[in-house]
């Protein structure tokens, strides 16, 4: 608390920057692995080290009042199934959510850091960041993870939220360098992302209702699971279904398992009739 501090020492409301300064070892992607490269890692033979779990397909669609974001539950380790109940859609704050594809460990770490970052800012400043501000901050965090990408630990999210200034839901996708791109209708990423996108392209219309959008989200995941080994479909035996959240002006709501199960029952009945 010395007297020589100026405004620039005081205007730091970022938890990420604080962590970088105080505990760089806790910042995702900031581990100094260069030079003393991981002895187990050989880019020519990546299969030699055990693969960390990967999350697979997640997607988001805009609808009349906001955004629906959903993801399957499967985690894979190479050709093995690492988990059947993985949660890939996370609430970040009262009005935004994030879904992740890629290496599960660093991705979940990034979610936790991003949640803390936004809450930290809100508490220090007394107001929330704008949606645009939140999306930019996430881009910077993904950029900081870039060194890890060269070790095969890739984290790619979709970030959705309700923008109070524009009174609209918004979808942002990212690339590994932290590049940030807005999608105006829908997007899907992960191993089954392409398959999910082709379903959405076929059926998406502007101003869908919440029910219609949710149904389309689930159908897209279902189709992705049919085409892609990495994506898990509804597991009727164990009762494990994809998870979804709805973000609109009133906040975030989790879609209950029961509602998802019912929509899947409808979908499957339709398929049987067609077949």
């Amino acid at each position: 608390m010395s007297s020589s501090r100026t405004l620039s020492d005081h205007d730091d409301s970022s938890f990420f920057d604080y962590l970088l300064h105080r505990r760089p070892d806790l910042v995702p992607g900031n581990r100094d692995w260069n030079g003393t490269a991981n002895p187990l890692w050989d880019p020519n033979r990546p299969h030699q080290i055990p693969q960390p779990p990967h999350g697979t397909t997640v997607l988001a669609l805009k609808y009349r009042e906001g955004v629906v974001i959903a993801g399957d539950r499967r985690a894979t380790e190479g050709f093995q199934i690492a988990g059947r109940q993985m949660e890939k859609v996370f609430k970040i704050d009262g009005y935004s959510a994030m879904a992740i594809a890629g290496t599960a460990g660093p991705a979940i770490e990034m979610v936790k850091l991003f949640q803390t970052e936004l809450e930290h800012y809100e508490k220090l400043e007394g107001v929330q960041l704008s949606y645009e501000g939140k999306a930019n901050k996430l881009g910077q965090m993904i950029k900081a993870n870039l060194p890890m990408v060269f070790h095969g630990l890739i984290v790619i999210p979709i970030y959705v939220g309700y923008d109070h200034r524009r009174r609209d839901g918004r979808i942002f996708k990212y690339d590994i360098t932290g590049g940030r791109y807005e999608e105006s209708e829908y997007h899907a990423i992960g191993s089954g992302g392409k398959d999910a996108r082709s379903t959405m392209r076929e059926h998406y219309r502007k101003n869908l209702s919440e029910d219609e959008t949710l149904k389309l989200a689930l159908l897209s995941l279902y189709n992705a699971a049919e085409e892609d080994v990495g994506t898990g479909g509804p597991d009727l035996i164990r009762g494990i279904y994809p998870t979804a959240k709805v973000v609109n002006a009133t906040g975030i709501t989790d879609v209950e398992d029961q509602r998802v199960a019912m929509l899947y029952a409808e979908l499957i009945a339709e398929r049987k009739q067609e077949g």
């Binding site: 608390m1 962590l19 105080r22 505990r23 850091l113 803390t116 508490k123 007394g126």
Partner: protein, 227 residues
């Protein structure tokens, strides 16, 4: 080279304490009371944007009296401490006790080592979960820490306020309405004037809220609560 004047340590501490007390006594007061569903914090604060009460973590609130720039710094340091701890370990590992200890250390060190002591008094409150009692810590300018029960007061007229609360505070089944009425009556009693609700900064830590328990109560709502 001129010889430095000799000042006895006793004299120096006494002077510093006097200086700090003088600074704090100029400020307005803040009251925290335990009520049935949590903790209520009320500050005599005419500004609607420069807060004296604020959220630190899920169930922890902070308030500071005295010099704004100094307790604002302490508030920010507290949020950083809490968020770092919650990020490193788990949300439930962030406690008011550890935070209050940190403040006590900081204030104590500054009081004994720096030329100018901080002119602040700090209150850290934590609402108890799952049957655990609430915690109220008051930390004064020299780092001494007090564990309070039922109610706590910091700021300018704290002795008079404590006297008033000792007489009128009843822990049993105190509702939010009764608590708010008590605090506003106490503040009016010592200032000898009617305080409009706009001049009070009010916040609660509500035990039954999901997630973050801290909530600001704006004048419109406080009027509703009191009627």
């Amino acid at each position: 080279m001129p010889l430095p004047y000799y000042v006895s340590p006793e004299q120096m501490m006494q002077d510093k304490a006097e200086y700090a007390k003088k600074g704090i006594s100029k400020g307005r007061s803040i009251i925290a009371v335990e009520y049935a569903d949590g903790i209520l914090l009320v500050a005599d604060n005419p500004s609607a944007s420069l807060y004296k009460i604020s959220e630190i973590y899920d169930s922890i609130a902070f308030s500071g009296a005295g010099k704004y720039s100094e307790f604002e710094n302490l508030r920010k340091a507290g949020i950083r401490h809490a968020d770092l701890k919650g990020f490193m370990y788990s949300r439930e590992d962030v406690t008011a006790r550890s935070l209050a200890n940190g403040y006590s250390q900081t204030l104590g060190t500054i009081f004994s080592q720096e030329l100018k002591p901080l002119e602040v008094e700090i209150l850290v409150a934590e609402v108890g979960q799952t049957g655990r009692p609430n915690e109220l810590y008051r930390i004064s300018f020299d780092g001494s820490i007090f564990d309070e029960r039922g109610y706590a007061v910091i700021g300018g007229r704290s002795e008079a306020l404590q006297g008033y609360l000792k007489e009128h505070y009843k822990a049993e089944g105190l509702t939010l309405k009764a608590g708010l009425a008590l605090c506003s009556a106490a503040l009016e009693n010592i200032t000898n004037q009617k305080l409009p609700l706009e001049g009070l900064e009010i916040a609660t830590l509500e035990r039954n809220r999901v997630g973050r328990k801290f909530r600001r109560i704006l004048p419109a709502e406080s009027r509703q609560i009191l009627t």
